[in-house]
Protein backbone atom coordinates (compact mmCIF):
# COMPACT_ATOMS: atom_id res chain seq x y z
CA UNK A 1 0.00 0.00 0.00
CA UNK A 2 1.61 3.21 -1.15
CA UNK A 3 0.10 6.64 -1.22
CA UNK A 4 -1.40 7.84 -4.46
CA UNK A 5 0.84 10.06 -6.54
CA UNK A 6 -1.61 12.92 -6.62
CA UNK A 7 -1.45 13.40 -2.90
CA UNK A 8 2.34 13.30 -3.05
CA UNK A 9 2.91 11.42 0.14
CA UNK A 10 3.82 8.09 1.48
CA UNK A 11 0.89 7.30 3.66
CA UNK A 12 2.72 5.82 6.54
CA UNK A 13 5.36 8.45 6.94
CA UNK A 14 4.40 11.81 5.59
CA UNK A 15 1.59 14.26 5.60
CA UNK A 16 0.35 15.23 2.12
CA UNK A 17 0.58 18.99 2.45
CA UNK A 18 4.31 18.74 3.07
CA UNK A 19 5.79 20.11 -0.10
CA UNK A 20 8.65 21.92 1.50
CA UNK A 21 11.68 20.82 -0.42
CA UNK A 22 14.14 23.36 0.83
CA UNK A 23 14.87 21.41 3.97
CA UNK A 24 14.51 17.87 2.66
CA UNK A 25 18.19 17.05 3.06
CA UNK A 26 18.33 18.26 6.64
CA UNK A 27 17.22 16.42 9.73
CA UNK A 28 13.87 17.82 10.88
CA UNK A 29 14.07 20.34 13.70
CA UNK A 30 12.21 19.99 16.97
CA UNK A 31 9.74 22.58 18.24
CA UNK A 32 9.31 23.56 21.90
CA UNK A 33 6.27 21.29 22.29
CA UNK A 34 7.84 18.20 20.70
CA UNK A 35 7.95 16.13 23.91
CA UNK A 36 4.52 17.40 24.94
CA UNK A 37 2.96 16.22 21.67
CA UNK A 38 4.50 12.78 22.04
CA UNK A 39 3.28 12.55 25.63
CA UNK A 40 -0.25 13.38 24.42
CA UNK A 41 -0.12 10.58 21.82
CA UNK A 42 0.53 12.81 18.83
CA UNK A 43 1.69 10.99 15.69
CA UNK A 44 4.70 13.01 14.63
CA UNK A 45 5.51 13.64 10.96
CA UNK A 46 7.93 15.91 9.19
CA UNK A 47 6.32 19.12 8.02
CA UNK A 48 7.99 22.33 6.85
CA UNK A 49 11.31 21.09 8.21
CA UNK A 50 9.95 20.31 11.67
CA UNK A 51 8.51 17.30 13.44
CA UNK A 52 4.83 18.11 13.96
CA UNK A 53 1.78 16.17 15.18
CA UNK A 54 -0.46 15.13 12.29
CA UNK A 55 -3.09 13.72 14.62
CA UNK A 56 -3.76 12.50 18.17
CA UNK A 57 -7.01 10.50 18.40
CA UNK A 58 -7.94 10.86 14.71
CA UNK A 59 -8.54 13.59 12.18
CA UNK A 60 -12.31 13.17 12.00
CA UNK A 61 -12.82 13.32 15.77
CA UNK A 62 -10.39 16.21 16.17
CA UNK A 63 -12.04 18.15 13.36
CA UNK A 64 -15.54 17.76 14.78
CA UNK A 65 -14.33 18.52 18.33
CA UNK A 66 -12.92 21.83 17.12
CA UNK A 67 -16.18 22.76 15.37
CA UNK A 68 -18.17 21.95 18.53
CA UNK A 69 -15.80 22.84 21.38
CA UNK A 70 -12.20 24.08 21.18
CA UNK A 71 -8.96 22.72 19.75
CA UNK A 72 -5.39 23.65 20.59
CA UNK A 73 -3.02 23.71 17.60
CA UNK A 74 0.74 24.09 17.78
CA UNK A 75 1.76 26.36 14.92
CA UNK A 76 5.20 27.19 16.25
CA UNK A 77 6.71 26.24 12.88
CA UNK A 78 5.35 29.49 11.50
CA UNK A 79 7.67 32.47 11.31
CA UNK A 80 7.18 35.28 13.82
CA UNK A 81 8.94 38.44 12.74
CA UNK A 82 9.14 41.91 14.27
CA UNK A 83 9.85 44.90 12.04
CA UNK A 84 10.82 48.25 13.49
CA UNK A 85 12.88 51.33 12.69
CA UNK A 86 12.70 54.73 11.13
CA UNK A 87 10.62 54.93 7.96
CA UNK A 88 8.84 51.67 8.76
CA UNK A 89 5.48 52.65 7.29
CA UNK A 90 6.79 53.64 3.88
CA UNK A 91 9.24 50.74 3.72
CA UNK A 92 6.57 48.13 4.49
CA UNK A 93 4.06 49.73 2.11
CA UNK A 94 6.67 49.40 -0.64
CA UNK A 95 6.84 45.67 0.16
CA UNK A 96 3.19 44.77 0.90
CA UNK A 97 -0.14 45.95 -0.59
CA UNK A 98 -1.25 47.04 2.86
CA UNK A 99 -2.61 50.42 4.01
CA UNK A 100 -0.78 50.99 7.29
CA UNK A 101 -2.48 54.35 7.82
CA UNK A 102 -5.62 52.43 8.79
CA UNK A 103 -3.87 49.75 10.85
CA UNK A 104 -4.38 50.88 14.43
CA UNK A 105 -2.50 49.68 17.49
CA UNK A 106 -3.59 46.10 18.18
CA UNK A 107 -5.18 45.59 14.77
CA UNK A 108 -4.36 42.49 12.72
CA UNK A 109 -4.56 42.38 8.94
CA UNK A 110 -4.14 39.76 6.22
CA UNK A 111 -1.57 40.66 3.59
CA UNK A 112 0.45 39.19 0.74
CA UNK A 113 4.11 39.02 -0.13
CA UNK A 114 4.25 39.49 -3.90
CA UNK A 115 6.87 39.19 -6.61
CA UNK A 116 7.43 41.68 -9.42
CA UNK A 117 4.89 40.00 -11.69
CA UNK A 118 2.22 39.91 -9.00
CA UNK A 119 2.74 36.25 -8.11
CA UNK A 120 2.17 35.28 -4.49
CA UNK A 121 5.35 34.51 -2.51
CA UNK A 122 3.45 34.04 0.74
CA UNK A 123 0.44 35.18 2.68
CA UNK A 124 0.90 36.64 6.13
CA UNK A 125 -0.69 38.42 9.06
CA UNK A 126 0.48 41.89 10.01
CA UNK A 127 -0.28 43.34 13.47
CA UNK A 128 0.62 46.69 14.90
CA UNK A 129 2.35 46.19 18.20
CA UNK A 130 3.76 48.97 20.34
CA UNK A 131 7.18 49.60 18.81
CA UNK A 132 6.66 48.02 15.42
CA UNK A 133 4.88 45.59 13.14
CA UNK A 134 4.54 41.94 14.08
CA UNK A 135 4.30 39.51 11.17
CA UNK A 136 3.34 35.85 11.09
CA UNK A 137 4.42 34.04 7.92
CA UNK A 138 4.11 30.42 6.77
CA UNK A 139 6.55 27.88 8.17
CA UNK A 140 7.59 26.37 4.85
CA UNK A 141 8.38 29.77 3.37
CA UNK A 142 9.74 31.65 6.37
CA UNK A 143 13.43 31.43 5.50
CA UNK A 144 12.77 32.66 1.96
CA UNK A 145 10.43 35.36 3.30
CA UNK A 146 12.99 36.62 5.77
CA UNK A 147 15.72 36.68 3.12
CA UNK A 148 13.36 38.49 0.73
CA UNK A 149 12.40 41.08 3.34
CA UNK A 150 16.02 41.67 4.40
CA UNK A 151 16.89 42.17 0.74
CA UNK A 152 14.00 44.54 0.00
CA UNK A 153 13.77 46.57 3.19
CA UNK A 154 16.16 49.50 3.70
CA UNK A 155 18.97 49.22 6.25
CA UNK A 156 17.13 51.44 8.74
CA UNK A 157 14.50 48.73 9.23
CA UNK A 158 15.37 46.14 11.86
CA UNK A 159 14.04 42.64 11.18
CA UNK A 160 13.94 40.52 14.30
CA UNK A 161 13.06 36.86 13.79
CA UNK A 162 11.33 35.88 17.05
CA UNK A 163 12.48 32.28 16.77
CA UNK A 164 12.51 31.82 20.53
CA UNK A 165 8.73 32.25 20.63
CA UNK A 166 6.11 29.54 20.25
CA UNK A 167 2.73 30.09 18.56
CA UNK A 168 -0.44 28.30 19.63
CA UNK A 169 -3.91 28.56 18.14
CA UNK A 170 -6.99 27.93 20.27
CA UNK A 171 -9.95 27.57 17.92
CA UNK A 172 -13.63 26.78 18.26
CA UNK A 173 -16.88 28.10 19.72
CA UNK A 174 -15.73 27.38 23.29
CA UNK A 175 -12.23 28.84 22.87
CA UNK A 176 -13.16 32.13 24.48
CA UNK A 177 -14.63 30.51 27.60
CA UNK A 178 -11.61 28.26 28.09
CA UNK A 179 -9.03 30.98 27.51
CA UNK A 180 -10.75 33.70 29.53
CA UNK A 181 -10.32 31.72 32.76
CA UNK A 182 -6.55 32.05 32.56
CA UNK A 183 -6.08 35.51 31.10
CA UNK A 184 -5.48 38.80 32.80
CA UNK A 185 -4.42 42.15 31.47
CA UNK A 186 -5.12 45.86 31.20
CA UNK A 187 -8.41 45.04 29.48
CA UNK A 188 -10.63 41.95 29.37
CA UNK A 189 -10.21 39.25 26.70
CA UNK A 190 -13.67 40.22 25.49
CA UNK A 191 -12.19 43.53 24.30
CA UNK A 192 -10.71 41.57 21.41
CA UNK A 193 -12.94 41.20 18.40
CA UNK A 194 -12.00 39.36 15.20
CA UNK A 195 -8.61 40.53 13.88
CA UNK A 196 -7.64 42.44 17.01
CA UNK A 197 -4.86 41.56 19.40
CA UNK A 198 -3.29 42.65 22.63
CA UNK A 199 -0.83 41.83 25.37
CA UNK A 200 -2.04 39.66 28.25
CA UNK A 201 -0.79 37.38 30.99
CA UNK A 202 -1.79 33.78 30.36
CA UNK A 203 -1.18 31.51 33.34
CA UNK A 204 1.50 33.93 34.50
CA UNK A 205 3.19 33.95 31.08
CA UNK A 206 3.56 37.05 28.92
CA UNK A 207 1.40 36.44 25.86
CA UNK A 208 0.44 38.34 22.72
CA UNK A 209 -3.07 37.16 21.88
CA UNK A 210 -5.03 37.95 18.74
CA UNK A 211 -8.56 36.91 17.86
CA UNK A 212 -7.82 35.19 14.58
CA UNK A 213 -7.17 31.75 13.12
CA UNK A 214 -7.33 29.34 10.24
CA UNK A 215 -10.42 27.25 10.94
CA UNK A 216 -13.34 29.61 10.24
CA UNK A 217 -14.28 29.42 13.92
CA UNK A 218 -13.98 32.03 16.63
CA UNK A 219 -10.59 31.63 18.23
CA UNK A 220 -7.24 33.00 19.20
CA UNK A 221 -3.61 32.87 18.18
CA UNK A 222 -1.23 33.06 21.10
CA UNK A 223 2.43 34.02 20.92
CA UNK A 224 4.41 33.02 24.02
CA UNK A 225 8.05 32.38 24.92
CA UNK A 226 9.05 28.89 23.74
CA UNK A 227 10.18 27.82 27.20
CA UNK A 228 6.65 28.43 28.54
CA UNK A 229 4.87 26.66 25.70
CA UNK A 230 4.44 23.28 27.39
CA UNK A 231 3.07 24.84 30.58
CA UNK A 232 0.57 26.94 28.63
CA UNK A 233 -0.47 24.01 26.41
CA UNK A 234 -0.97 21.85 29.49
CA UNK A 235 -2.97 24.59 31.20
CA UNK A 236 -5.30 25.06 28.22
CA UNK A 237 -5.75 21.34 27.58
CA UNK A 238 -6.69 20.98 31.25
CA UNK A 239 -9.91 22.81 30.43
CA UNK A 240 -12.84 20.51 29.63
CA UNK A 241 -13.52 22.29 26.32
CA UNK A 242 -10.00 21.86 24.93
CA UNK A 243 -8.21 18.99 23.19
CA UNK A 244 -4.95 19.05 21.24
CA UNK A 245 -5.53 18.96 17.47
CA UNK A 246 -3.06 17.93 14.76
CA UNK A 247 -2.14 19.20 11.31
CA UNK A 248 -4.57 16.82 9.62
CA UNK A 249 -7.64 18.45 11.11
CA UNK A 250 -6.07 21.88 10.66
CA UNK A 251 -6.05 21.15 6.92
CA UNK A 252 -9.61 19.81 6.74
CA UNK A 253 -10.92 22.71 8.87
CA UNK A 254 -9.30 25.37 6.72
CA UNK A 255 -10.55 23.67 3.54
CA UNK A 256 -14.14 23.76 4.82
CA UNK A 257 -13.59 27.42 5.75
CA UNK A 258 -12.51 28.13 2.15
CA UNK A 259 -9.13 29.38 3.33
CA UNK A 260 -6.31 28.83 0.83
CA UNK A 261 -3.12 27.00 1.76
CA UNK A 262 0.15 28.46 0.57
CA UNK A 263 2.04 26.28 -1.91
CA UNK A 264 -1.19 24.65 -3.02
CA UNK A 265 -4.07 27.10 -3.50
CA UNK A 266 -1.72 30.02 -4.04
CA UNK A 267 1.73 29.99 -5.56
CA UNK A 268 4.12 32.37 -7.32
CA UNK A 269 2.28 31.40 -10.52
CA UNK A 270 -1.02 32.75 -9.17
CA UNK A 271 -1.89 36.41 -8.67
CA UNK A 272 -4.19 37.65 -5.87
CA UNK A 273 -7.04 38.35 -8.29
CA UNK A 274 -7.26 34.82 -9.67
CA UNK A 275 -6.65 33.47 -6.15
CA UNK A 276 -9.67 35.40 -4.86
CA UNK A 277 -7.52 37.29 -2.37
CA UNK A 278 -8.21 40.84 -3.49
CA UNK A 279 -9.17 41.67 0.10
CA UNK A 280 -5.45 41.28 0.86
CA UNK A 281 -4.82 44.39 -1.24
CA UNK A 282 -6.11 47.32 0.78
CA UNK A 283 -8.41 49.83 -0.91
CA UNK A 284 -6.00 52.76 -1.08
CA UNK A 285 -3.33 50.53 -2.59
CA UNK A 286 -5.70 49.35 -5.33
CA UNK A 287 -5.88 52.90 -6.63
CA UNK A 288 -2.35 54.04 -5.79
CA UNK A 289 -0.32 50.91 -6.49
CA UNK A 290 3.33 51.22 -5.45
CA UNK A 291 3.83 47.60 -4.31
CA UNK A 292 5.59 44.71 -6.08
CA UNK A 293 3.60 43.48 -9.06
CA UNK A 294 1.12 46.38 -8.79
CA UNK A 295 0.96 47.00 -12.55
CA UNK A 296 0.00 43.38 -13.26
CA UNK A 297 -2.45 43.15 -10.39
CA UNK A 298 -4.21 46.47 -11.01
CA UNK A 299 -4.58 45.46 -14.64
CA UNK A 300 -6.05 42.10 -13.60
CA UNK A 301 -8.49 43.90 -11.28
CA UNK A 302 -9.87 45.80 -14.27
CA UNK A 303 -9.72 43.11 -16.92
CA UNK A 304 -10.29 40.00 -14.84
CA UNK A 305 -8.17 36.86 -15.01
CA UNK A 306 -8.20 33.78 -17.21
CA UNK A 307 -8.70 31.48 -14.22
CA UNK A 308 -10.18 31.86 -10.79
CA UNK A 309 -9.95 29.89 -7.56
CA UNK A 310 -13.37 28.42 -6.81
CA UNK A 311 -14.95 25.90 -4.50
CA UNK A 312 -16.27 22.55 -5.72
CA UNK A 313 -18.68 20.20 -4.02
CA UNK A 314 -18.67 16.58 -5.14
CA UNK A 315 -21.33 13.90 -5.21
CA UNK A 316 -20.58 10.48 -3.82
CA UNK A 317 -17.71 9.84 -1.43
CA UNK A 318 -14.58 9.69 -3.59
CA UNK A 319 -12.48 12.77 -2.88
CA UNK A 320 -10.76 14.83 -5.54
CA UNK A 321 -7.12 15.43 -4.71
CA UNK A 322 -4.58 18.07 -5.59
CA UNK A 323 -3.55 17.84 -9.25
CA UNK A 324 -6.79 16.30 -10.51
CA UNK A 325 -8.01 17.85 -13.76
CA UNK A 326 -11.36 19.60 -14.08
CA UNK A 327 -13.45 19.16 -17.22
CA UNK A 328 -16.55 20.48 -18.94
CA UNK A 329 -17.35 17.74 -21.42
CA UNK A 330 -14.10 17.01 -23.27
CA UNK A 331 -12.61 20.40 -22.50
CA UNK A 332 -10.06 20.60 -19.71
CA UNK A 333 -10.94 23.77 -17.82
CA UNK A 334 -9.01 23.63 -14.58
CA UNK A 335 -7.07 21.82 -11.89
CA UNK A 336 -7.78 20.93 -8.27
CA UNK A 337 -5.39 22.54 -5.78
CA UNK A 338 -6.81 21.13 -2.52
CA UNK A 339 -9.39 18.47 -1.91
CA UNK A 340 -10.66 16.06 0.63
CA UNK A 341 -13.60 14.62 2.48
CA UNK A 342 -15.39 17.22 4.58
CA UNK A 343 -15.96 15.82 8.07
CA UNK A 344 -18.61 18.44 8.84
CA UNK A 345 -20.55 18.06 5.58
CA UNK A 346 -19.88 14.33 5.05
CA UNK A 347 -19.12 14.73 1.36
CA UNK A 348 -15.97 15.63 -0.57
CA UNK A 349 -15.07 19.27 -1.25
CA UNK A 350 -12.25 20.86 -3.19
CA UNK A 351 -10.67 24.09 -4.33
CA UNK A 352 -9.66 24.45 -7.98
CA UNK A 353 -8.41 27.00 -10.46
CA UNK A 354 -10.98 27.01 -13.26
CA UNK A 355 -11.34 28.99 -16.51
CA UNK A 356 -13.40 32.09 -15.78
CA UNK A 357 -16.23 31.01 -18.11
CA UNK A 358 -17.02 28.06 -15.84
CA UNK A 359 -16.83 29.54 -12.36
CA UNK A 360 -20.43 30.64 -11.71
CA UNK A 361 -21.95 29.01 -8.61
CA UNK A 362 -23.81 25.86 -9.58
CA UNK A 363 -21.86 25.24 -12.80
CA UNK A 364 -21.70 21.50 -13.48
CA UNK A 365 -18.12 20.27 -13.83
CA UNK A 366 -16.35 16.94 -13.78
CA UNK A 367 -13.15 16.01 -11.98
CA UNK A 368 -10.97 13.22 -13.33
CA UNK A 369 -9.74 10.92 -10.60
CA UNK A 370 -8.08 7.56 -11.33
CA UNK A 371 -9.69 7.38 -14.77
CA UNK A 372 -13.17 8.19 -13.47
CA UNK A 373 -15.17 11.35 -13.92
CA UNK A 374 -16.57 12.62 -10.66
CA UNK A 375 -19.54 15.00 -10.99
CA UNK A 376 -18.94 18.30 -9.18
CA UNK A 377 -20.56 21.71 -8.88
CA UNK A 378 -18.97 25.12 -8.51
CA UNK A 379 -19.89 26.22 -5.00
CA UNK A 380 -19.52 29.38 -2.96
CA UNK A 381 -16.92 29.37 -0.20
CA UNK A 382 -16.74 29.03 2.72
CA UNK A 383 -18.28 25.56 2.53
CA UNK A 384 -18.99 25.79 6.27
CA UNK A 385 -20.00 29.29 7.41
CA UNK A 386 -17.44 31.34 9.30
CA UNK A 387 -18.31 32.07 12.92
CA UNK A 388 -15.90 34.88 13.67
CA UNK A 389 -16.59 37.14 16.65
CA UNK A 390 -16.76 40.54 15.01
Amino acid sequence: MVCHALSRSSVLSEYPVNDDNQTEDLAPMLLPLDAWHREKGGRMVEFAGYMMPVQYEGIMAEHLWTREHAGLFDVSHMGQVMLSGEGLEAAVEALLPIDLSTLKLGAVRYSLLLNETGGILDDLMVSRWPGGLYLVVNGATKWDDIAHMRECLPDEIVLNHLDERALLALQGPEAFAALERHVSGDYPLSALTFMRGGKFELGGVEAWISRSGYTGEDGFEISIPGESAAAVAELLCGEPEVKPIGLGARDSLRLEAGLPLYGHDMTPEADPVSAGLVFGINKRRRSEGGFPGAAHILNALVKGTARQRIGLTLEGRMAAREGAKVFVGDEEVGVVTSGGFSPSLQHPIAMAYVDAAHTADGTALEIEMRGKRLPAKAAPMPFVPHRYHR
Binding site: M1, V2, C3, V11, L12, A319
Partner: protein
Protein backbone atom coordinates in the same frame (compact mmCIF):
# COMPACT_ATOMS: atom_id res chain seq x y z
CA UNK B 1 -7.08 -21.66 5.46
CA UNK B 2 -3.86 -19.64 5.52
CA UNK B 3 -3.31 -15.94 5.85
CA UNK B 4 -0.40 -14.14 4.20
CA UNK B 5 0.81 -10.54 4.48
CA UNK B 6 2.66 -8.06 2.25
CA UNK B 7 5.16 -5.37 3.14
CA UNK B 8 2.57 -2.89 1.84
CA UNK B 9 0.22 -4.03 4.63
CA UNK B 10 -2.29 -6.05 2.63
CA UNK B 11 -3.47 -9.44 3.88
CA UNK B 12 -4.77 -12.32 1.80
CA UNK B 13 -6.54 -15.31 3.24
CA UNK B 14 -6.45 -18.34 0.97
CA UNK B 15 -8.77 -21.32 0.94
CA UNK B 16 -8.60 -23.65 -2.01
CA UNK B 17 -7.94 -21.46 -5.01
CA UNK B 18 -9.83 -18.46 -3.61
CA UNK B 19 -8.23 -15.51 -1.82
CA UNK B 20 -9.86 -12.77 0.26
CA UNK B 21 -7.89 -9.52 0.41
CA UNK B 22 -7.89 -6.61 2.85
CA UNK B 23 -5.59 -4.20 4.61
CA UNK B 24 -4.14 -4.90 8.03
CA UNK B 25 -5.25 -3.39 11.29
CA UNK B 26 -1.87 -1.67 11.49
CA UNK B 27 -2.47 -0.05 8.09
CA UNK B 28 -5.95 1.20 8.94
CA UNK B 29 -4.56 2.72 12.14
CA UNK B 30 -1.93 4.56 10.15
CA UNK B 31 -4.43 5.74 7.51
CA UNK B 32 -6.93 7.08 10.00
CA UNK B 33 -10.58 7.68 9.24
CA UNK B 34 -11.44 5.93 5.99
CA UNK B 35 -14.06 7.80 3.96
CA UNK B 36 -14.26 5.83 0.71
CA UNK B 37 -12.99 2.62 -0.87
CA UNK B 38 -12.64 2.49 -4.65
CA UNK B 39 -13.13 -1.23 -5.31
CA UNK B 40 -12.08 -3.16 -8.43
CA UNK B 41 -14.54 -4.42 -11.04
CA UNK B 42 -15.62 -8.02 -10.63
CA UNK B 43 -14.39 -10.10 -13.55
CA UNK B 44 -11.21 -8.05 -13.90
CA UNK B 45 -7.99 -9.98 -14.42
CA UNK B 46 -5.16 -8.59 -12.35
CA UNK B 47 -1.46 -9.33 -11.88
CA UNK B 48 0.35 -9.44 -8.57
CA UNK B 49 1.47 -5.92 -7.64
CA UNK B 50 -1.18 -4.13 -9.74
CA UNK B 51 -2.94 -1.24 -8.06
CA UNK B 52 -6.49 -2.61 -7.96
CA UNK B 53 -8.18 -0.53 -5.30
CA UNK B 54 -7.76 2.79 -3.53
CA UNK B 55 -8.56 3.55 0.09
CA UNK B 56 -9.38 7.21 0.77
CA UNK B 57 -8.91 8.64 4.23
CA UNK B 58 -9.45 12.20 5.36
CA UNK B 59 -5.79 12.87 4.84
CA UNK B 60 -4.83 10.98 1.67
CA UNK B 61 -5.59 8.31 -0.89
CA UNK B 62 -3.66 5.03 -0.77
CA UNK B 63 -3.25 2.44 -3.49
CA UNK B 64 -3.92 -1.19 -2.70
CA UNK B 65 -1.66 -3.58 -4.63
CA UNK B 66 -3.03 -7.04 -5.12
CA UNK B 67 -0.91 -9.63 -3.28
CA UNK B 68 -1.70 -12.26 -5.91
CA UNK B 69 -2.64 -12.58 -9.58
CA UNK B 70 -6.03 -13.81 -10.71
CA UNK B 71 -9.60 -12.79 -11.45
CA UNK B 72 -11.70 -10.63 -9.13
CA UNK B 73 -14.85 -12.58 -8.24
CA UNK B 74 -16.50 -10.44 -5.60
CA UNK B 75 -16.11 -7.08 -3.85
CA UNK B 76 -17.27 -6.08 -0.38
CA UNK B 77 -20.44 -4.16 -1.24
CA UNK B 78 -20.93 -3.18 2.41
CA UNK B 79 -18.05 -0.73 2.07
CA UNK B 80 -20.08 1.51 -0.25
CA UNK B 81 -22.22 2.67 2.65
CA UNK B 82 -19.84 1.87 5.49
CA UNK B 83 -16.23 2.49 4.44
CA UNK B 84 -15.42 2.85 8.14
CA UNK B 85 -15.71 -0.96 8.38
CA UNK B 86 -12.10 -0.96 7.22
CA UNK B 87 -11.24 0.99 10.38
CA UNK B 88 -13.37 -0.97 12.80
CA UNK B 89 -12.89 -4.48 11.41
CA UNK B 90 -9.96 -4.36 8.99
CA UNK B 91 -9.02 -8.03 9.10
CA UNK B 92 -12.52 -9.57 8.99
CA UNK B 93 -15.63 -7.56 8.00
CA UNK B 94 -13.56 -4.85 6.28
CA UNK B 95 -12.27 -7.16 3.55
CA UNK B 96 -12.00 -5.54 0.10
CA UNK B 97 -12.31 -8.19 -2.63
CA UNK B 98 -12.13 -11.89 -3.44
CA UNK B 99 -9.92 -13.29 -6.16
CA UNK B 100 -9.47 -16.70 -7.82
CA UNK B 101 -5.73 -17.28 -7.82
CA UNK B 102 -4.05 -17.96 -11.14
CA UNK B 103 -0.66 -18.83 -9.64
CA UNK B 104 -0.66 -20.10 -6.06
CA UNK B 105 3.16 -20.23 -6.08
CA UNK B 106 3.19 -16.42 -5.78
CA UNK B 107 2.11 -16.78 -2.17
CA UNK B 108 5.52 -18.18 -1.29
CA UNK B 109 7.05 -14.69 -1.38
CA UNK B 110 4.58 -13.30 1.17
CA UNK B 111 4.97 -13.18 4.95
CA UNK B 112 3.10 -15.30 7.44
CA UNK B 113 1.47 -13.74 10.49
CA UNK B 114 4.54 -14.08 12.73
CA UNK B 115 6.86 -12.59 10.10
CA UNK B 116 4.46 -9.69 9.50
CA UNK B 117 4.26 -9.01 13.23
CA UNK B 118 8.04 -8.83 13.40
CA UNK B 119 8.08 -6.61 10.31
CA UNK B 120 5.57 -4.14 11.82
CA UNK B 121 7.53 -4.00 15.07
CA UNK B 122 10.62 -3.06 13.06
CA UNK B 123 8.88 -0.02 11.49
Amino acid sequence: MTRYFTEDHEWIEVEGGLGTVGITDYAQGQLGDITFVDLPETGATVAKGDSVSVVDSVKAASDIYTPASGTITEVNEALADEPELVNTDAEVGGWLYRITLSDASELGSLMDEAAYKTYVESL
